[in-house]
Amino acid sequence: MLFQPVPEISLYLAWTAAVVPLAAFGAILVFFRRLPKTAAAISVAAAAVSLICAVCLLVRHWNMDAPLQSAVTWMASGEFEIAVGVLLDPLSLVMLVIVASIAFLVQVYSLGYMAGDAGYGRYFGFMSLFSWAMFGLVLAPNIVQVFIFWELVGLSSYLLIGFWFEKFSATRAGKKAFIMTRAGDTLFFWGWLILLVWGGTLSILELNSGAHGLSSAMTTAAALLVFGGIMGKSAQFPLMTWLPDAMEGPTPVSALLHSATMVAAGVFLMARLFGFFSQSDLAMAAAMAVGTLSMLLSATMAMVSRDIKQVWAYSTISQLGFMIMALAAGGYAAGIFHLTTHAGFKALLFLCAGVLIHAHETNDMFELGRAGARRMKAAMVCMTAGALALAGIWPFSGFFSKEAVMGALAGADNRLWLFCGLAGVFLTAHYTFRLIFIILFPRTEAAGGPGARHGSVSANAVMYAVLGLLTVFTLAAGFFAQGFEDFIRIHGGHAQEGHLASLAHIASPVLAVAGIVAAWMQFGSNASDQVGFAEKIGPVGRLFARRWYLDHVYAWITGRLLDRGIAEGCRRFENKVIEGALTMITGGVVFFGRMAAGWQRAMIQPKLMAAFAVMFGLILILLVV
């Protein structure tokens, strides 16, 4: 017996948490699009209900000893059934609470941030849609349900990135996000088709326990393909460039979807199928390689970006890379713990950035610095706290989770991964504090207070309350590391700490501090010229700034290969071959018609000839035969 049925009350709670946002979405889109206040109230209320349900579930099942699962058949066709249901285990409970709380906080924050926007109602509708999709994904007991909500998450991401549809770049970014994650989803789809058709099961618990009929080669193939989906959703190499572009969306959206929850869905899926992935060493190695590569690449990109939101976006990719590395190294609890703390401090960072951007109407960190962003003290304090957490400084939560990740990496077979991880820690601290120092210590500063230049709306109390809450979480979460680990590790793998663990535990904070010091020397101190070492070497700087030319590859694939290559070829085939054949056929018919008509024109003698020939030919045939 892999699981026990879910107790009735918990089932109701889980269903409520998932379905209420859907109801809110439907109600808002159908009835309340034109009533922004009502729409926002409904949406926030739904988020609150979900949060309460999630917390109740967590509390009820704090001491669970086996996963709880129950499902109903939603649709049956032949032998294939799609079941929807609820799978409650520590992972889904934790994720549920993370998603519910961040969603609730971000929606509350949005009440102020989005005030006055023309699409206020629509915005909250889409937020509710996203919540629903995310809850469905988190609670899913089988891969089909994961896939369905996985796609819906992608859809809501598309809608929210392109929320300001008048902005051409926003709609393009939305499209890019959808297509690139969709490319990953296609791999995922192939993967679970293998699981379904040849493995015979899609139940997550059965897959994790190895109760499927796949040989090891097929297991590896399926795991790699499923990991393709994770690459798309968590913006890992090579499907990573959509995430920085996705920052075209409203900042709360970036905070909720593109840092804290949706992109974490990829990591979540990997954790969800951790048992299954563990069955294939090759898949785990590939995941490790991809995670490491993404982590390092995006860190380098973050080092040269001037856009504050993009820096956080790159850091998100980088941190997701850390999580995948941890999971691939077998550090189940470490990966999930990093996911949890990251959700908190990354949401905090984005929301602080939102406050600054809101006040100064620019994304450029140098301009923000010049405009006097540092005078918004509360926001700057919160942001610095988040940055310290991101860099991995005690006592912030990031320190603890990063230590756990490093511990897991130390247990990996190959030392390369640990050293790459440590390099990543240094780079993270460096680019994070590059941003902070640039804003805090501008070379020139405009006169006037925050928002004076544009007279725009400054952040209201609700927004600051949200920031405060998140800061508290960032400060406090680290101290629950042990409890968290005990809770989550009920059925997960257990990373054994390798002999390098002590080295890693010492090196990691040291390198983080070194990164900050390096950033200080280049950006902070009065003597510095605020040009990073990467930017000083022209080609490297260009390489980083242009995202390692990944976008060029994609532009080539869509523009050249697909558009002007295959599609144009098909279009020509349509016009030349198919239409041409048609023209030939019709032309032939007309030709023969003309010929036959020729016999009917004035040529008496040919007609006579034909008549005679037929008549006597028939007589001849009759006589002979």
Partner: protein, 115 residues
């Protein structure tokens, strides 16, 4: 005792063949009608011969009808020839439609055509 019926048939066949050749090879509407007359005549000969062979007066009746039909045909046919000639100034059957000739034949025989 006259000749065998086969001989009459042979005569009819030869005359019919002549009419056929005339209709098929002469590029002159009038001669085409002449060929038709010859063919009708051949048919009449065979009918009369058959009437004698089988002792039936029916054959002669048919021949009479042939004569009548020929008369009708000739009168209408000649009227049409006159009509066509008035329009196209030609008796060439290939030149009567739309009063144009196929280009090749026109050119080849241009010097010969009189009016």
């Amino acid at each position: 005792m006259i000749v065998p019926y086969t001989h009459v048939m042979l005569l009819g066949a030869i005359v019919f063949l002549m009419g056929m050749i005339c209709t098929l090879t002469r590029r002159n509407l009038m001669m085409i009608i002449v060929g038709l007359e010859i063919m009708l005549n051949a048919a009449a000969i065979v009918f009369v011969g058959a009437g004698l062979e089988f002792g039936q007066i029916e054959g002669q009746v048919m021949a009479l009808f042939i004569v009548a039909v020929a008369a009708a045909e000739v009168s209408v046919g000649l009227a049409m020839v006159v009509c066509i000639y008035r329009q196209t100034q030609s008796l060439d059957p290939q030149c009567t439609e739309d009063s144009r000739c196929p280009a090749g034949t026109e050119k080849a025989s241009e010097p010969a055509s009189g009016p």
